[in-house]
């Protein structure tokens, strides 16, 4: 039945248990499915359909609605450059251009090696630290075109197993939206831009479904 490993199934069961209705688990399960392959495959969606009791078409209807569920491989590092209004005002188009050039991949593409994907994104909620860039959704604020190029070079060379937003900020960032102050104690996300290293694990005490 399930193609997922026992550990992943365990995680899936925990996710489903958090919701009064299992269909609600479709979004976290899609992230879980992505974490297996690095992107969302048809098999992954079929698996999610089984877990949530809906049809694969219904899963696809949800999955294709959101920009973060990637239907094609995006590389090990997905670099997203915000080009919405505030970032645009402070030169994000040039940052995007630098990223594309350095990576050798245009918006929506992956570099030749399949390591780095590049995309422009709508507002990332970092307008005060514009221009903003994310690597696997870990934020860097105040990025210049030069820093953007260095970022790509560094990813190619260092190939970190996980990316940490504080480290990235220190290496490639500038002005921030607000004082970050606190260093993040845990490593962030990797190796794929997927979300299984966090998301809710809260013990849910109310048992059974409510509706």
């Amino acid at each position: 039945m399930s193609e997922w490993s026992e550990a992943v199934q365990e995680r899936a069961r925990a996710i489903v248990a958090q919701y009064p209705q299992r269909r609600s688990a479709v979004m976290p399960l899609l992230f879980l499915a992505m974490a297996q392959d690095g992107y969302l495959t048809e098999a992954g969606m079929i698996e999610v359909a089984e877990w949530t009791g809906i049809t694969p078409a219904q899963v696809a209807a949800v999955a294709t609605f959101y920009t973060m569920y990637k239907r094609e491989p995006v590389g090990k590092y997905l670099v997203s450059c915000c080009t919405s209004i505030s970032c645009m005002l402070l030169g994000s188009d040039q940052v995007m251009h630098a990223l594309e050039e350095e990576a050798g991949a245009l918006h929506g593409q992956v570099d030749a090696e399949g390591l780095i994907g590049v995309e422009h994104a709508e507002c990332l909620g970092a307008c005060g630290g514009a221009p903003a860039v994310q690597v696997n959704y870990e934020l860097i604020e105040g990025v210049t075109p030069d820093k953007a190029r260095q970022l790509v070079q560094w990813l190619r060379k260092a190939r970190p197993e996980t990316v940490n937003t504080d480290e990235l900020q220190q290496l490639f960032g500038g002005t921030t939206s607000f004082e970050w102050a606190i260093k993040e104690e845990v490593g962030a996300v990797g190796p794929y831009p997927a979300f299984e290293s966090f998301g809710s694990t809260a013990p849910v005490s109310a048992d059974g479904t409510e509706s």
Binding site: Q21, S24, E42, M45, G53, T55, P56, A60
Partner: protein, 798 residues
Amino acid sequence: MTDLTREGIKATVGEEMVKVTVDGQEFEAPKGQMLIQAAQNHGTYIPRFCWHPRMRPVGMCRMCLVEMETPKGRVLITACTNPVADGMVIDTKSEVAKKAQEGVLEFLLINHPLDCPVCDRGGECPLQDHTIAYGPGESRFVEEKRHFEKPIKISDLVYLDRERCILCARCTRFSDEVSGDPLIEFLDRGNFTQINTFPDQPFASYFSGNTVQICPVGALTSKAYRFRARPWDLVSIESTCPHCTTGDRITVQASQNEVLRFLGVDAEATNWSWLSDKCRFGFEFIESPDRLTSPMIRQEDGSFTEATWTEALELVASRFTEIRDAGKGLAVLGGARGTNEDAYALAKFAREVLSTNNIDCQLDDGLDPQFLAATADRARISDLDSARTILVWGPDLKEEHPTLYLRVRHAVQEKGARLVLIHPWRNGLDDRATHKLTYRPGSGAALLTRLQSEEGEVATALAEGPLVALLGRTGYGEDGRLAEAVAAHVRSLGGKLLPLARRSNVYGALDMGLAPSLAPGRATTDNPGKNAAQILEGLAEGSILGLLMVGSDPVRDVPNGELARQALEQARFVVALDQFLTDSSRLADVVLPVEGFAEKEGSVTNVEGRVQKVNRVVPGPGQSRPDWSILDDLSDRMGRSINLVSAEAIAKEIATEVPAYVGVTWDMLDAEKDGVVVPLPEATQPLVYLPADTPGKSFSGELVLHYARTMFDDGVLMRHGPSLEHLAPGAVAILNFDDARRLGLSDGDQADIKTSQGSARLTVRIDPSMNHGLVYVPFNQPGIPSLGSDPVVTVTKA
């Protein structure tokens, strides 16, 4: 219960009336009715695309924007999502409303291809119509239109052209909300939104054709109709669907004497415009090149030669007269697929000319005719809408009574009825069942006894009325009389009943007396004849010599097909009135070609006792004749004229001679939109039958066969329709994992399935949802012998 899906707005239309003003005209409308409907009922048409009266509103297309007065000034609202309220003042034609409507239309057109000349919808397209009525002259959109690969095949029956789609969500709502198989969905977002299926998972819904009918543009088209005609060339005549007992209203459309399309008609009493794909695309047989066009006589070597009517009828008359006069027994099988007029003629012919009561329009797969014809406390289909509890203990409605399935689904999902579902296995309504009980065929009586005696949730649910029960045989291993016992229980609870039998006009045929124990008008005969099973046995053992088959194919259609084959082979003389050479009529001595659906006029009676018209749209092929005229001709030749001159004359005779039908004339039926329900007599049958697990028929420890029909099978009408012929699921034997392991079987293995009445070698499928001790085999699949109606089965690895 599955999880809730999108709730949306449910219009609960009550009794209370409210005053509304639309464009200066004041009128009263029921509170809760959507403004768009209320306005339309009072002569104001508000343009719309997404709204459909039989589905929840989504307010997506925004075409129905109108202005409403409020204390804070006028606001724009969508007429399809706002129920009328007392004192509501609406302007549908104000500057602002018109500007909004024209704006929406322009937006819809900017990405719509201008391929109307090659579009099936051209000429019957609301977008085209609205553009002429409200639209801009020329496009201000100079950008590139949205492009999609066109058209893509999304199922065996349906094509999708996403460029034409205006994203009204009618098809997606239908499949999710109405038919319960959400296989077609919105994908992507915003300006890239499209309708599509999941890769490699086609839109394999039994109801897919409805989406073609309700698509307001030409985005969804059907394989059967694509490029066949232009709407303005079509002749449209209303009729009643020839496939199910629900009596679904349809429009038959033809061009140049060729039937090209069935459309559902929104009849409140029956199908609300919906049709299953079997019904919708089951028109192709009418134009099949295989239709019989002249009488045929079988030769010594088994081949047929064409004959003149005179030759054929002379032969039949002389052989039947001979058998009759020798007192050797004649019998009649069939007649449940024609009109009441033909059934009346047949009953009269059988009794007066053939002198026999060996008449059965059911083929050993139904219920007791007394029970079917005279069930008192018969429910109307519309009673489902107000039921508190619905009991379904019978065939899988989705497979065998598709529009009733939709109605039950609607009652549970939209009206909050509780559904008690009793079935041996998985069932189309499982996801909506409040209580689902499964049991092994053969032990239904024990289950019933438990329901009657034990307290519990199910018993409580059944006791809380209004209760409507849909009862029939869940499969052929089921004792046909179990339903009667259940009916007695339901009746004791004050519930109403819909008995479930097969073949479109079975109720009309029974009412006309096509049963061993019934005289026309649901009266009981004094000396009942033999039923279908007994007739076949009689033929096989030689106690009956002659058989008249009327539109029936016992070899494929009775559970014990092997017995039917033997019967036909042993019979001395067999005559078939048929549209096709079937596995049965191939064994007849004389085959007479008849006019079929859409070729003759008459009346039919549905499960509620509702009498409706069927109409002639095209002529029958070749020398085919209506049944009644053949029978009348034969009666003359056999010296006992039944004196029938036309279908209309028969109708008049029925309206004066057949008790329940007195006064029901064609004029009346033509005038009444939803036909007429003929009155049912008081409960005449005693219903004392209380089956229990018969000693010696206890199946514990053994395997039991669940042998039931699927919507698509190897039936005659499907075999002769190119769209449907390949849709039968095919014969398999479905088993639980544990049973399979015990028998040494794995998925895909071949196994021999054996009952006392037949055997077949089938592919094994393992299904975790299958109950222990149960084997499911779909009935009448291509190329597979039948297994009969004995539920005891053995399965061995081949």
